[in-house]
């Protein structure tokens, strides 16, 4: 699956799509692949604050529960409630329909420190090599 060029990516495998001061956040195709079949998603309440690098929720697959870390600081303005009934969307459309939350970002310049698509693809290529070494 292609990694959208306009997104930014974290080392913990979240993507962020910033438009103005509103960012949409999800987990990457690499992350969903590592997790396996997703069965449950735990998302924060609208109005709660996120801190860059801190967990805002969890994704549970049949084999593990993983934290999802916020790429930026801000306030949650919308959560993807459709995932409560259809968490498997994370496996089928991680970069689109299975977005997790929308954040009003405190400092949009913060995302400059995150990886772009090319850097992220190189990063996960390294990981894959490590795993098969």
């Amino acid at each position: 699956m292609a990694y959208p060029a306009q997104y930014r990516y974290t080392k913990e495998h979240e993507w962020i799509d910033l438009k103005g001061d509103v960012a949409t956040v999800g987990i990457t195709d690499y992350a969903q692949h590592e997790l396996g079949d997703v069965v449950f998603v735990e998302l924060p309440k609208v109005g709660s604050k996120t801190v860059a690098g801190k967990s805002f929720g969890t994704v549970e697959s049949v084999k593990a529960v993983s934290e999802i870390y916020s790429p930026v600081a801000g306030e949650v303005i919308e959560v993807n409630n459709a995932l409560q009934d259809a968490p498997e969307k994370i496996n089928t459309d991680p970069h689109g329909a299975a977005w997790l939350i929308r954040i009003r970002v405190a400092n949009p310049a913060e995302i400059a420190s995150l990886m772009d698509a090319a850097a992220y693809e190189a990063y996960i290529a390294d990981k894959t090599k490590e795993a098969s070494a």
């Binding site: 735990e42 549970e60 697959s61 084999k63 529960v65």
Partner: protein, 448 residues
């Protein structure tokens, strides 16, 4: 899973594989002053005949022929030899935690049946077999409520078992959880006026026990309404599980924490027991421990698996829902066999006998002019009386008559000096109750 001792050759092979010269080197990271340098002071090995002799001697130290009126969280109930016969089977007795469904269908089925029985008894939707006992189950229920509400204050009835409260306070001490107690009213039930006054929007849970430590049955539905009024959850602890054969199940509670010792587990030295945690399906992901589930295999046959283990410590480490729980499979099996033998009618009858005998005992004791009933509220198989003198001294006299006296309430409740908590179960006969009443009268009649 088997545990086999390793031969010296195998030890050397293992050390070589990890690059250590000796076992001593393996532990070299432990500071020297903390290391044990001399051999453990253990007696030498015994022959089979000596072991048998040793245990015969220990068994001979047991007291026989005593009648007990002591309850207070641990209860004497009839047990069937069938329970022990099944518990002693090696497949159950020596098997380890069932991780592999392929080789542990029997254990998983027993746990699944235990969970089902616990749901039926508590009026809840989901239950597991991962709690050590009633006290840790109560605390885990509080921690669940804390996670679910995001609040950090907890109101605990003073009439909850003192040891359950101690365990809760121990957990809370370093976790930032604020535990406050709510007094009991004159009739022995939780003081709802005080509860309403203490209940604010920051309270995660209200914890009550029913029957409570004084034996009194709490109005669970009313307490649930009060707690829910401010968005708090109601945790109900049940220390005497047999009560559920007669008392309405605490279905209005959000979480039920129970001690299942009364179901086929001997009091022993106070354990091992079986804790139960039961709750609503919607809260299942915040439950500590794991569930056994029923499913079908690739050929459509019924089978059992461990499910929802993803939030346990071997996967989630410090983020696990609990790091202080286990699988109480063997104790849960005892409870399952016991309840299956009793059946629905049997349990109801057992519970009814507890009620009848305890009420008969109270009536007999109240014939002694100086004995008073302390609390008026309805009770199950325990009740509180007030004596004209020290319960400890009275108990010393009773013991000479081969009677284990009631619980000395003053030890846990300083305001209740001279108060005794009397327990009467189906195991106590009418003549034993009458003998107890006579012995108590005699003890009270004696000059101080």
């Amino acid at each position: 899973m088997r545990y086999l001792p390793k031969s010296p050759v195998e030890r050397q092979e293992m050390l070589a594989a990890i690059g250590a010269k000796s076992v001593d080197e393996l532990f070299s990271s432990i500071p020297d002053r903390y290391r044990l340098r001399e051999a453990l002071k253990l007696p030498g090995p015994l022959s089979e005949a000596e072991v048998i002799q040793y245990f015969k001697e220990r068994a001979a130290e047991n007291s026989v022929g005593y009648t007990s009126f002591l309850g207070a969280g641990v209860y004497n109930h009839l047990r069937s030899v069938v329970t022990d016969a099944i518990l002693q089977r090696g497949e159950f007795l020596t098997s380890y935690t069932p991780y592999q469904a392929e080789i542990t269908q029997g254990t998983l089925q027993a746990i699944f049946e235990f969970q089902t029985l616990m749901c039926q008894l508590t009026g809840q939707e989901v239950a597991n077999a991962s709690m050590y006992d009633g006290s840790t189950a109560t605390t885990e229920a509080v921690l669940m409520a804390e996670r679910l509400t995001g609040r950090r204050r907890v109101l605990v009835a003073h009439s909850v078992h003192p040891e359950y409260r101690d365990v809760l306070k121990t957990y809370a001490k370093n976790s930032g959880l604020l535990v406050e107690e709510v007094p009991y009213a004159a009739d022995g039930r939780l003081d709802t006026k005080a509860l309403r006054a203490a209940l604010k929007e920051d309270v995660a849970a209200v914890v009550a026990q029913s029957p409570n430590f004084f034996g009194v049955i709490e109005p669970v539905a009313a307490l649930a309404d009060i707690a829910h009024g401010t968005g708090a959850m109601l945790v109900v602890a049940v220390a005497e599980a047999v009560s559920l054969g007669a008392v309405r199940p605490p279905a209005e509670a959000d979480i039920v924490a129970m001690e299942a010792q009364s179901f086929g587990l001997a009091p022993s030295y106070g354990g091992p027991f079986a804790g139960v945690i039961a709750s609503r399906d919607k809260y299942v992901r915040q439950m500590p421990g794991r569930l056994a589930g029923q499913t079908t295999d690739t050929e459509g046959r019924r089978g059992f698996v461990l499910t929802l283990a993803t939030r346990e410590q071997h996967i989630r480490r410090e983020k696990a829902t609990s790091n202080i729980c286990t699988n109480q499979a063997l104790c849960a099996l005892a409870a399952t066999v016991h309840l299956t033998l009793l059946g629905k009618e049997g349990l109801r009858e057992m519970a009814q006998q507890n009620i009848s005998k305890a009420h008969f005992a109270l009536a007999e004791l109240l014939k002694i002019p100086s004995v008073r009933r302390a609390f008026d509220a309805p009770f199950f198989n325990e009740f509180t009386i007030k004596l004209p003198r020290s319960v400890k001294l009275v108990n010393a006299q009773l013991l000479r008559e081969k009677i284990v006296g009631p619980f000395v309430l003053g030890t846990a409740y300083p305001e209740l000096t001279k108060h005794a908590l009397v327990c009467v179960t189906e195991t106590t006969t009418r003549s034993e109750i009458e003998r107890f009443a006579r012995a108590l009268k005699q003890a009270l009649d004696q000059p101080v």
